[in-house]
């Protein structure tokens, strides 16, 4: 029984990890009042850059860093447009997603037939030998451990530090934060770049560690699912983590069901993550007070001190 469960649970964690990175990053962005719909595009940029750097250097760590840098660079374009130039955040986010898809597809052509060796999981000494939890939790690729560190970091930063308090305050009322004397635009820049960097790492994890390969549009909507997860989690890091693994589970269940020869069309199983996303969105959104009490008040609204 446990023998059958271990690979499923381990695979669930692995499948949820890109969502953990992207959604935690977007959570911080949205907490500052910025809605960046370009997660899908930033993940794709990160995935391609990570893959290319890993191929060139032979090191997955270099790949992850390249993904981080590419995601942040993509976010910088968005930040320039929306924060400095005051463009509509929804339009700019869509543009970033479309651009990211186009850029990565164009620049990624030469890498489509390249193969990377599957990375070895990094078993934590002693912990990995624990029954059940050991192989599930502690025999994972390094980026999975890093995603947990990121979770701890984001939770601690937002709720235990003064800069985190300032970030949340900016997201609630940029005008008030400005009146008190905080550099609203600068803070939003940092949050947006952080979100992009994390989306980039999430993408790099997909191409370098999870699959590992490069294919056009390989994120297959994970960036959008990450956006939905942030709403589903009512902007709380703990629930983002839980939601990401829930989706990891849905993805994995589909593979195992197909592997087990379930008498259902494969397309129906493949559509489960998307249908589940719609389901959880409806579940959370139907009570407007849940959103009203948890969503950053200024989410998606442009702010400029001179206006």
């Amino acid at each position: 029984m446990t023998d059958a469960l271990v690979p499923i649970l381990a695979a669930t964690l692995a499948a949820g990890t890109p969502l953990v990175f992207a959604a935690l990053g977007e959570l911080v962005v949205e907490k500052s009042g910025v809605l960046n719909l370009g997660v899908e595009g930033m993940m794709l940029c990160g995935a391609l850059a990570g893959f290319a750097a890993t191929v060139a250097s032979g090191s997955a760590a270099v790949g992850a860093l390249a993904g981080l840098a590419a995601g942040a660079a993509a976010a910088l374009v968005f930040a320039l447009l929306t924060l400095t130039l005051q463009a509509n955040q929804v339009a700019a986010g869509l543009a970033l997603s479309i651009f990211g898809v186009g850029l990565s597809a164009f620049a990624g052509k030469p890498f489509e037939s390249v193969a990377l060796p599957a990375p070895q999981p990094f078993a934590l000494p002693a912990l990995a030998d624990l029954p059940l939890v050991g192989p599930v939790l502690f025999a994972q690729p390094p980026l999975v451990y890093l995603s947990w560190a990121l979770f701890g970091l984001v939770s601690w930063f937002l709720y235990r530090t003064r800069p985190g308090l300032v970030l949340r305050a900016v997201g609630e009322s940029p005008a008030v934060a400005h009146a008190i004397g905080y550099p609203v635009i600068g803070i939003r820049y940092l949050a947006t770049l952080f979100g992009g960097a994390m989306a980039g790492v999430g993408g790099a994890y997909l191409s370098v560690s999870y699959t590992p390969m490069w294919a056009e549009n390989m994120t297959a909507g994970r960036g959008w699912i990450a956006l939905a997860l942030v709403v589903f989690a009512t902007w709380r890091p703990g629930r983002v983590l839980a939601g990401a693994y829930l989706f990891g589970g849905v993805t994995i269940a589909q593979f195992f069901a197909q592997g087990a020869g379930a008498a259902v069309a494969s397309q129906l199983l493949s559509s489960l993550p998307y249908l589940a996303t719609i389901g959880v969105l409806v579940l959370i959104s139907r009570n407007p007070n849940v959103i009203r009490l948890n969503a950053p008040v200024s989410l998606g609204q442009s702010y400029h001190p001179d206006a």
Binding site: L37, G41, V77, L80, L81, L85, Q86, A87, N88, V90, A91, A92, L94, A95, L96, I98, F99, G100, V101, G102, L103, A105, F106, K109, E216, A220, G221, W224, I225, L227, A228, V231, A265, Q267, L268, S270, S271, Y274, L275, T277, I278, L281, V282, S285, R286, P288, I291
Partner: protein
């Protein structure tokens, strides 16, 4: 002023294209010529331009109605697929019985199919307050899988050597060609009709006015008693219906059957077309020509310059980025001029 930034954005895109081609080691002028001029230097090329512009202008016009009211339907690609499935399904069932009303029935089925797919996010938004941005996009993936299931399974052509595609539609069920020897068909006229109807709705109708108010100031719309629910429904259904028509026009036009991929991303490109066309139907029609040219240029680049056709997507994204940036720059110039105005006037008084 409003119409300056699309031109500026197009110019900047071409400029970056020049730099990009140079960086890739191609002669930039020759490459730009191949990309932007050669595709439309023949009558057949112009016909292809109009053919590809048709779905773009239809969808963009429909989406623009919603975007004006802050209804963000970004799932037009999925609605297009549903239009193709429904219209195509009718075509497959009309085997042999085809006549004049067959195509009309397919057009209706296509539009209704797109509307039905768009109705799901509209319902979830108005009833459960769920973001139509995310739900409409998720449904796009589901629509693609649904089409894949149909052409791999129940609707696969038994004589098709196991290819995942349906049987070819009867000739009588395809849009008649407008110009013999080209692929340009009567769906182009349908697209023009959609643009005209969109223009009347946006500029002349009271409903169009109400949706504009909803987009500019939703508290004012509530104050005046304009229904927010109706705004969402109209916005979503307009985009869905237009996308459904476009999907039907693809399968009952150049493709002639159902295949797993019937659109090279028209539903997403139309979002850009809508913005570049300033959310104005006539603007959308013009912008769709530019976007269509980017598609043709991408194909040309693949053949002549040995560059991936994905370069089209790169140019599309850049175009929208530059548009958003140019908008701000132009607004900023206007603001700066206005600011300079009164200051200069009061300085004059002081002197």
């Amino acid at each position: 002023m409003r119409y300056l930034s699309p031109l500026l954005a197009a110019a900047l895109t071409i400029l970056v294209g020049y730099a990009l081609f140079s960086a890739l080691g191609r002669d930039p002028l020759a490459a730009l010529h191949a990309f932007f001029v050669r595709p439309v230097s023949t009558a057949n090329g112009v016909a292809e331009l109009l053919l590809k512009a048709s779905p773009l202008m239809m969808i963009a016009t429909g989406l623009a109605l919603g975007f004006r009211a802050n209804v963000w339907n970004i799932g037009a690609e999925g609605q297009l697929i549903l239009g193709a499935i429904c219209g195509g399904g009718v075509a497959l069932h009309l085997e042999g019985a085809a006549s004049g009303w067959g195509l009309a029935l397919m057009v209706v089925a296509g539009a209704l199919g797109g509307m039905a797919w768009a109705a799901i996010p509209a319902f979830l938004r108005t009833r459960f307050n769920a973001s139509e941005i995310l739900t409409s996009l998720m449904l796009t993936y589901v629509a693609a899988l649904l089409l894949s299931y149909l052409v791999h399974g129940p609707w696969r052509d038994p004589q098709g050597f196991n290819f995942p595609q349906s049987r070819m539609f009867d000739d009588a069920l395809l849009f008649p060609l407008l110009v013999e020897g080209t692929r340009l068909n009567a769906s182009f006229l349908l697209a023009l009709a959609v643009v005209a109807a969109g223009w009347v709705f946006v500029h002349k109708s009271f409903l169009g006015y109400q949706m504009r108010v909803a987009g500019l100031a939703d508290a004012a719309a509530r104050y005046a008693g304009f229904s927010a629910t109706r705004t969402v429904w109209i916005g979503m259904l307009a985009g869905g219906g237009a996308a459904g028509l476009a999907g039907l026009a693809e399968v009952a036009g150049p493709i002639g059957q159902l295949t797993p991929s019937i659109s090279p991303g028209y539903g997403f490109a139309a979002i850009i077309v809508a913005f570049v066309g300033r959310l104005n139907p006539v603007g959308c029609a013009l912008a769709s020509l530019l976007m269509s040219l980017l598609y043709l240029g991408g194909e040309q680049a693949q053949m002549e310059l040995r560059l991936p056709a994905a370069i089209t997507g790169l140019f599309q994204g850049m175009l929208l980025f530059f548009l958003l940036g140019a908008d701000v720059l132009i607004n900023f110039r206007v603001r700066a001029l206005r600011r300079a105005g009164p200051a200069a006037a009061s300085a004059g008084q002081a002197a």
